[in-house]
Subunit: 453 residues, 2 copies
Amino acid sequence: MQSYDVVVVGAGPGGEVAAGKLAEAGLSVAIVEGDKVGGECSFYACIPSKALLRPGELLEEVRHVPGAAEAATGSLDVPAVLGHRDELIGHLDDAGQVPWLTDRGVTLVRGWGKLVGERQVAVGDEVLEARKAVILAGGTRAALPDIDGIDDVNPWTNREATTAQEIPASLVIVGAGVVGSEMAQAYVSLGARVTLLAGRGVLPREEDFAGQQVAERLAEQGVDIRTGSRPTAVRRDDSGVTVTLGDGSTVTADQILIATGRTPQAVDLGLEVVGVKSEGFVEVDAHMRVPGQDWLYVIGDLNGRALFTHMAKYQAAIASGEILGKPMVAEHMADGPGAPRVIFTSPQVAAVGHTTTSAEEAGLRVRVVDVGTEANAGGSYSGGGVGTARFLVDDQRNVLVGVTITGTAVAEFLQAATIAIVGEVPVTRLRHAIPSFPTRSELWLYFFNELGI
Amino acid sequence: MQSYDVVVVGAGPGGEVAAGKLAEAGLSVAIVEGDKVGGECSFYACIPSKALLRPGELLEEVRHVPGAAEAATGSLDVPAVLGHRDELIGHLDDAGQVPWLTDRGVTLVRGWGKLVGERQVAVGDEVLEARKAVILAGGTRAALPDIDGIDDVNPWTNREATTAQEIPASLVIVGAGVVGSEMAQAYVSLGARVTLLAGRGVLPREEDFAGQQVAERLAEQGVDIRTGSRPTAVRRDDSGVTVTLGDGSTVTADQILIATGRTPQAVDLGLEVVGVKSEGFVEVDAHMRVPGQDWLYVIGDLNGRALFTHMAKYQAAIASGEILGKPMVAEHMADGPGAPRVIFTSPQVAAVGHTTTSAEEAGLRVRVVDVGTEANAGGSYSGGGVGTARFLVDDQRNVLVGVTITGTAVAEFLQAATIAIVGEVPVTRLRHAIPSFPTRSELWLYFFNELGI
């Protein structure tokens, strides 16, 4: 039996960061991975999706800027897009990711890890003992919805959609959350006819205007968006995949992508062996520890708090800090449903903290201030399209509790809002943080003006 | 004699904002302008320079993104760039700017305003009386350096460079501050042969790495940068303009642009009539009031605090707030030399607060942390080039006191740093402001890592 200070199960972004930080601090660390080091994010999610979206987004921007537009007369080069995507995902080989771990002295154990007792992880016939702690970072996989026939049509999930070597002539997407919306945009810009089955609408968890603006742009690009009715059956035959909706209508396409959410990979982790509920997300405390098990941490998607790579890495810092005696707890609205998030559609959607709906549900009395993302001097020359910035000010505490910004290339606008919220900077103090002219960040100035400060 | 609550002299961005805010609050306001409503910024500086730079910057970005690069095989369309520039500056007609004032009930008086007594401004034969206050917002104009022959060669200043209808085959630029560096980039990308006489180097007031990176990019684009020696004489003849440098070398070009700084338009404002020093920048207190003259405010470039449009607008809010009995003072390092600033070169330079040099001069003990702007997942697909982010942490107070970020399209990164500095958010709290993956804002995460928090 090999013995380590810490055994990490799962080498996605959360597991990697936790293992790296612990090893850098001098602990002996083993990390167990049955698939690819780097995880879903590096190979089948964040990275390849951005590689598919970025070229189209940038060309759209160029076409709005006279002088540059005339130089960009060609269309997206699809093989080049896919080829660059393949490079960025290392052609699905994790060899490029391993050195980050091994350079830090982390022992990589290939195979599926499973708890077989307190502080004990089995990988095949081998058992790894953890003197200090076990960190589970098993992540999630695509959830398949309960639709008649779904198991017989071999549907795409995010994995196939992000790594496809050919663009199907037509694609039907079930679900219009982040994955469904991003892939609808990517595939329509890459030349597919796309039908988006949006049920409750596009991006239903974000501010209404965000989903509406993305839906409008998708429709302009030719995406057929169907709302209000859910798929009830799906069949595949020689003509492709046919989805029947609750209202009796049908959609036929060459391929189907299921994008209806994620399910934790908690089964077969051996949680029940140590008395922890073994299905669904695993509950943890503010230190990412499983209540009652002072040696067991769960980070990343698996704890269900905030299914984002950046939050997995944040939780990795919290768990490893706790193990190293440098405790830090998730706080200041940085965690959970208010976590910062960016959806890389056109327009992009960048949000942190509450939406109007979630603030209401939380019983907060907020002042809602909307300004145009492009309605300033910075917007006049930069090449952006439609966009809105919504600020939610807590009336009692005089601080921001939520910001949503839509528009072209607004992903990098988010950190300012996140710092304002996490720092709980009073709006009267924020007013002295002057955005430079002529940048689109002057949306902050318009926010101050609307507030009358 | 017409009487108003407030008379504003100068309808640049500062004067406009002050007049607008006062009129919106119900005061009667006259604004006096002898040139264009909108000022230097709208017609001869911020706006046309961005219009000249943006197309080239965007094309450069596109050429770094496989899939989009193949669509952009043409070159910059110079007439289209100039045409769009002309649109954005209203073809040098301020008719589009006037309604912003008149809609708010501000009286526009055309002509040059001059103090002729306490609370009295003459415009030609007319005298306007100000019951409450006079705000001077006269701005600056290009300073001509003391070079033998300069008065005889009819040199370009920012005005001619930003509004040129033809691109000269060759251009020599004296001075490599913001105007010189931006115009060097614009003109080389528009097809001119450019020589940049940089004296102390490119962007000497910013971090060394910023100037070096911009200089390297300019050199790559073909700009001939001469440092270490200053112009001593200039002559124009049939072959163009010849500049002689202190080391005896010469440069000949079709046109010369002087970009060696700004001088306040304080002469002929009548300041001496009310006993105020009438040359150079006019000193003001934290309320933008001239000491000893409780009715006289000076905002924008004219007070010399921070020569930026956004700071003029900020000072306009301070002065008008004071007049309206809602006092707000410039504070929290938002004002003065630490004001936020963006230089729209390639790479862009975005900075707020101290540089390493200014922090040292101020006697601060700072920890300097450098990370790569593009050295993260966001940089892998977005199309950026070289870039560095420098964070200066005050060791005693544990807060940021300066940030400089260089890179592609980093202008919008600045507001996060500005909020962190103005909000005096401790770095241990900042650590919970998690940048989204995969954005380039993860440079903040790398900063936290380097700090070991």
